[in-house]
Point group: C2
Chain length 182, copies 2
């Protein structure tokens, strides 16, 4: 069912996705979907969370430099995959931005992803690799920002070099205390 | 005429903008517009360039820290102005992304803006504030990235604190040599 949800998403986008279509594609009765997911939003949220968790694992190599680089590389891999592209297109599409339900799925998705990535930074602080007042959320967002800038604004290619540069910048800023809280 | 172009842009967006509408709004004959601008794209490009040049001056205070902070603050002011919002909406709108002419106006606009901001960094290198191999384009993009991330992805507020943080991160990364070329 989750796979069918992602297929519907990549084919028609968020706006066209319905429980009925997902049930048809998964060849199950829609009542069994409603038993497990209270609405379309919960179904999409779970399918996306599972997909991105598989595609973008949170590394724990013992080095913040390696962790951030691997994280940025797998994130780029996911953002340029069919599901990642569909999510990104939905995030910025006029139709999706006009639907509060979709905006809420996306916000929850992005904030959940950020929260799950934060332990890379808290572990680095515990190891003494980063200043103790480093804001984990700010570090992760500093890794993400140049990747989204390229994908959405400058339309420049994103590749491993983009990932490595994003990780390097976030790390340098964090080490210099520019990503501290308070 | 340029003011009328921006009004058309903020009211109806890129896709609805025509030379005829601009001529009507400016109360001039459209043949006089065609005499000065060979097409809609040139007219919009000039109107935008003039508007953003006025709204986002390139500072030259003698300190890269102050320059980047002032630049980021005025950029946020512009991006949240009616014209800035219209440009950003057009950049990511489905309709605009489907029109190669609009994509080209935007690409030229963004790259021209980046190019014009680079002297802040080259002057800082000349003053010895930044490593000599610092890539000016990469520094400016590092200032822009978190601002666009908030506007387009996380939908968090953008304000002076966002600007100051963006400038601080770019500066720390540049000083640490993380934004060097080659």
């Amino acid at each position: 069912v989750l796979a069918a949800t992602l297929e519907e998403l990549t084919v028609g986008g968020f706006t066209a996705l319905t429980i009925d279509n997902v049930a048809r594609r998964a060849a199950v009765h829609k009542t069994s979907l409603y038993r497990n997911w209270k609405d379309r939003a919960s179904l999409v949220a779970e399918a996306l969370a599972e997909n991105v968790a598989g595609g973008v694992p949170i590394p724990d190599t013992g080095s913040i430099e390696t962790d951030l680089r691997e994280y940025a590389r797998s994130l780029i891999g996911w953002l340029t995959s069919p599901v990642g592209r569909a999510v990104l297109a939905a995030t910025i599409s006029d139709a999706a931005r006009a639907e509060p339900e979709i905006v809420e799925i996306e916000q929850r998705f992005y904030f959940d992803r950020l929260r799950r990535a934060e332990p890379m930074v808290t572990r680095a602080i515990a190891r003494g690799e980063l200043p103790s007042n480093t804001d984990p959320n700010a570090v992760i967002k500093t890794v993400l920002a140049p990747i989204y800038l390229r994908l959405l604004i400058t339309a420049e290619p994103v590749d491993d070099a983009t990932a490595d540069q994003a990780a390097r910048v976030a790390l340098a800023a964090a080490r210099a205390g520019a990503l501290g809280s308070g």
